[in-house]
């Protein structure tokens, strides 16, 4: 038996979705607009990480939609 990666694109998409939601909500809650200016974290980097994860998640969704449309399994 050859070793195979046990997760599919759907699983990766799920992990990315959960991570993206957590990061986006955190970066929004910690925004200085709501007065949270005393937390020692680089908010710019947090926002960048949240955006990157969201884009990665949307890319996996786009791949799945394309797979459904073109009938690729």
């Amino acid at each position: 038996m050859t070793p195979a990666f046990p997760l599919g694109l759907w699983d990766v998409s799920l992990v990315l979705a959960v991570t993206a939601i957590v990061l986006l909500v955190t970066s929004e809650i910690l925004s200085p607009y709501y007065g949270a200016a005393n937390l020692r974290i680089n908010k710019k980097r947090l926002k960048n990480a949240a955006m990157t994860t969201s884009i990665l998640f949307l890319t996996t969704v786009a791949i799945q939609i394309a797979a459904i449309i073109y009938g690729i399994s």
Partner: protein
């Protein structure tokens, strides 16, 4: 010997290694649960290692250093008897366009000299018989930081552009204010004569709430040559920004700081020069 350890980076790397091990094991044994856990750990490891904590200093240290500088500037101006209104100069008045200077005339009624005279004055900042003095305003370095955060020189921005970008940069990127509103004085004035509106167009009003500069701004209210003149560091930054963006000399017309030092309302006037 004290070894400095970056805690967040160490945690991130540890999570990443743990995640990779779980992924490897899951691949070898073809089990999905460790793979899911491993994937999560790898993502969070990378994210935690990337999101570094910012470097911070205690606010009390910031206050004690900046208020001392304001005190020194106030004492110097009083000792040298410079009583005039400070004017923030645009680059055309200076030899080096990147330098940031404010001109203070000797007399209360003193006017702004021609750019050539100021450029000559810049070569020897305190000549004996000078009618004015050039100083580096309290917000000079902060204005350079602002340019860095905006990602462009203030010289290449317009006033309208600045009006939209400044609040976002000051609140989100620099985190020195929690609320900021900048508007030209005639923005919300209706039913006035055209002439009046025209004269108001040169007046810009800025209202902001700050916790970072609360004590410094509060201290500035007690210094006669600073308050409503050179301005507290935050008012000074905006005056520099307006002078650079408009290319015209700018003065602080009035400054109102609340008793607790949190809220500040400053009015600036962009001076229309005679054709030089």
């Amino acid at each position: 010997m004290r070894i400095s350890v970056n805690v967040s980076r160490s945690i991130g790397i540890a999570l990443f290694i743990l995640g990779m091990t779980a992924l490897l094991a899951a691949t070898v044994y073809s089990t999905p649960i460790p793979a899911l856990i491993g994937l999560g750990l790898v993502f969070w490891g990378v994210i935690i290692a990337y999101i570094q904590p910012d470097e911070y200093v205690k606010k009390t240290i910031l206050d004690s250093t900046s208020t001392t500088l304001l005190d020194t500037l106030d004492e110097t101006l009083k000792t040298l008897d410079y009583e005039g209104k400070a004017t923030y100069l645009p680059p055309k008045y200076l030899n080096d366009p990147e330098s940031i200077k404010a001109y203070i005339p000797k007399q209360e009624t003193g006017t702004l000299p021609l750019p050539e005279a100021i450029q000559k004055l810049e070569m020897q900042p305190v000549p004996k018989d000078a009618q004015g003095i050039l100083i580096t305003p309290p917000g000079a370095q902060l204005a350079r930081l602002l340019e860095k955060e905006i990602g462009t020189s203030l010289l290449t921005t317009s006033l309208n552009d600045l009006q939209h970008r400044l609040p976002h940069t000051l609140i989100e990127d620099m985190e020195i204010v929690t609320e900021c509103e900048i508007r030209q004085a005639d923005d919300k004035i209706d039913g006035r004569s055209q002439e009046n509106a025209q004269s108001n167009r040169n007046v810009i009003s800025a209202k902001f709430t700050t916790t970072a500069f609360r004590d410094t701004c509060k201290r500035a209210t007690q210094l006669s040559t600073i308050f409503s003149n050179v301005g507290c560091p935050l008012s000074s930054v905006l005056a520099i920004a307006f002078a650079k963006a408009t290319g015209k000399p700018t003065q602080i017309l009035s400054e109102k700081i609340s008793e607790d030092g949190l809220t500040s309302e400053t009015k600036y006037i962009i001076i229309e020069e005679p054709n030089i």
